[in-house]
Amino acid sequence: MRITLQDFTKRFDGASVIDRLNLTIADGEMLALLGPSGCGKTTTLLSISGIHRIDGGAILFDEHDVAALPAQKRNVGVVFQNYALYPHMTAFENIAFPLQVRGVGSAETTRRVKDIARLTHIEPYLTRRPGQLSGGQQQRVALARALVRQPDVLLLDEPLANLDTKLRLEMRSEIRRIQRETGITAILVTHDQVEAMSMCDRIAIMDKGAILQTAAPAEMYRAPASRFVAGFLGSPPIVFVDGVAGGDGTLACDGGLTLPLPSRLKGLAAGRKISLGVRPEHFGTSGDARLSGTIGLVEPQGRETLFDVRLRGDVVLRSVQPARDDLRGGETVSWPLDVENLLAFDAATGAAL
């Protein structure tokens, strides 16, 4: 089912939280609503689900506006961050509850619960209470409960936040697998860019109640629409260097450091203040320009090693390289910079150049 938000507006106690937001999620697509906490992504989710009433605009399921319908009458499945399993019911009863409420017969209920349990791999645990299940199992039960009544759309509110790292990795692919197998339209709300990038077809990045950019993960990473988007995606994060365009394809930074600009920005007017974004993988591995500086902090991360390199004028760039332990803090290095892949933003507006 295709979900469309048209001029969706939400206020709390008169204060506008989301103002005329527009978004379309294609049928069978999995979209991530990514943003820092308080950006309005959970509010959006709860408005689609019908928990919140909206103060303007429309929410279309295909062609049908559901804005006036209460949560009970919208066919929406939700998985909450804390799973919200009913603690006094077994896993089976939890999953069967939506069917019972709809008056589905008991034989049919059992059949459908069994089916969904098979899909979510929780058949052995159906007789247990939530308190006797591990975090990952609870997550699967919550998914099964949300899916058992074949909803039009599946909403996931920070589904992995309560899991430890290892389980998170496992559930990431599990949720994606289940979504693919059922072909359901899904919206994932998260503040974790890795989650968003690894699980979703598209990402809508939000800040302060507005969507800044909607794009496929790779595209968004490669060509962020703004400084905020660039800073939000990528781990370890991008480093910004502020400076003034020299008019000759270079950037003059505060401490006397001069950096080359990508060729597409050659025509930039001299004196324009910009913010240059350098991702760690674009410094220290390959490229035309070379920059020399002193190594600061060295962070071995197993497969990779992360370096902080202090350049002239106290500008610190970050570099990520395949694991190496031949360098110590204090040593001077001269490393290549991949100029063409640098990102540039207007210093005042943050818009990509």
Partner: protein, 468 residues
């Protein structure tokens, strides 16, 4: 329970006023929260509102209303009638009512009219006799029963027996004395029938003097302000509340701190023991204190064995009576206080105490510098709350000293209760009692509102998050 600790943590003065919604609220003043009223919510709340309305709010309002009446067990509570008794008429003599009017009212007269004849026929008076009366006496009236009797005896068919004659006279009698008139108009008509020229002012006076029901008055408050007993009661109440409160706070604080630091087993034993005064039914608790201090009870016998003065400590002397009143109530207060302060103590993060011990603080410094400052609000809350309860409670005193010896340990609440509901003379003065209670109700209301302020009420009220 989580609720208490949350409540206690909320016990901070409402200092910082909350920012109003955010800046964007100012740009959109028209924005009204679109919240649908939950019909289920109204349905679920309705029985509670009904019960509280009828059995909590209405009593409170009635207390306020009836404080301004003369209502008592003599007047009844549901209105009255108009009756002239001999006593009332005597009292009216010399108060501006003409003596002849009073005499008229006393006079029992007889009038032979159609209504009287019909009533007599109904009462079974001999028909021939009635025919006689109708024929000869219809339209006449007699100034007294004696004249009427003589006239009747002159009739040919009059009954021989005095009893039957009296029975026949009754329907014609028009006495005002000792007759109940249900309404003011009936009473006025009756007076006019004997004194047609009565002045309206005199009529009014007569009518209000004859009214048996309650009337509006501010007399109760005037009386409370002028009678010397009021001062005594006030002083007693203040003394009682202040000393009992001090006793309770001191003991409960000591209990809470001691059980906090003592080894678990000892602590549990003592806190369980001190739960008893709170959970023991009040009557049994009072009886136990009676046994403890009454003559022939534990303490007097013990004192006797030790050669100390032994008598009924509860009622035998004023100082011992006060001591017992204070202890009886103070123990219950200490019980409540211990419960409250213990839960407040447990809410203090234990890391703070570890940190202070690492810093080398002694036990006493720990209590003074770390624990007591954090118990400030719970103690204040307990003090205010307990002061209000003590001020309005009378059960324990009523069941132990009953205000004695004499009325030395009588307090305001007990006196209000006795005046209105438990007077030994049998005349219950609801109006006066309500006036006394109204003062307690007013103080209680003010203090409850004060507590509400201290509670930081807004923190406890969260908007529902499901909006549909």
């Amino acid at each position: 329970m989580a609720e208490t600790t949350a409540a206690l943590r909320a016990l901070r003065p409402d200092t910082a006023s909350r920012p109003a919604g955010g800046t964007r609220a100012l740009e959109e003043p028209e924005a009204t929260p679109r919240r649908r009223t939950s019909r289920l919510g109204l349905l679920m709340l309705a029985p509670t509102l009904l019960l509280l309305g009828v059995f909590f709010l209405v009593p409170a309002v009635l207390t306020g209303i009836f404080a301004f009446t003369t209502m008592s067990s003599a007047t009844g509570i549901s209105g009255g009638a108009y009756v002239f008794t001999a006593n009332r008429l005597d009292a009216l003599a010399g108060s501006g009512v003409p003596p002849e009017t009073i005499t008229e009212l006393r006079t029992e007269r007889a009038v032979v009219d159609a209504a009287g004849l019909a009533a007599a026929a109904k009462a079974g008076v001999d028909e021939r006799f009635l025919a006689d009366i109708k024929a000869t006496l219809l339209g006449q009236s007699f100034a007294g029963p004696r004249d009427f009797k003589r006239a009747l005896q002159a009739l040919p068919n009059h009954p021989r027996r005095i009893f039957e004659l009296k029975q026949a006279m009754e329907p014609f009698s028009h006495a005002i004395l000792n007759t109940r008139f249900a309404t003011r108009d009936q009473a006025a008509a009756a007076i006019r029938s004997v004194a047609p020229d009565i002045e309206p002012a005199v009529l009014d006076r007569l009518l209000s003097a004859s009214y048996t029901g309650w009337v509006w008055t501010s007399e109760n408050f005037v009386r409370l302000l002028t009678q010397p007993q009021t001062l005594r009661l006030c002083l007693n109440t203040v003394f009682y509340v202040a000393v009992t409160l001090g006793f309770s706070v001191a003991i409960s604080l000591f209990l809470a701190l001691a059980t906090f630091y003592l080894p678990r087993r000892t602590a549990t034993a003592f806190s369980a023991l001190w739960l008893l005064p709170k959970i023991t039914p009040v009557v049994l608790y009072a009886i136990l204190w009676k046994w403890f201090t009454w003559e022939g009870g534990f303490l007097p016998i013990l004192a006797g064995h030790l050669g100390l003065p032994a008598f009924n400590y509860m009622k035998g002397s004023v100082p011992t009576a006060w001591t017992i009143v204070i202890m009886v109530n103070g123990f219950v207060g200490a019980s409540i206080g211990m419960i409250l302060l213990t839960s407040a103590l447990r809410a203090i993060p234990v890391q703070q105490l570890w940190a202070s011990e690492v810093d080398g603080a002694s036990r006493w410094q720990q209590v003074r510098r770390i624990i007591l400052p954090q118990l400030k609000w719970p103690i204040l809350f307990f003090t205010i709350y307990q002061a209000m309860s003590l001020m309005s409670s009378y059960e324990q005193i009523w069941l132990t000293t009953d205000g004695g010896p004499g009325n030395t340990t009588d307090v305001w609440a007990l006196e209000a209760f006795r005046v209105a509901l438990f007077d030994y003379t049998g005349n219950l003065r609801y109006g006066l009692g309500a006036a006394m209670a109204l003062i307690l109700v007013a103080v209680g209301l003010i203090v409850s509102l004060l507590l509400l302020r201290l509670f930081n009420f807004s923190d406890l009220v969260e908007q529902p998050r499901i909006e549909t």
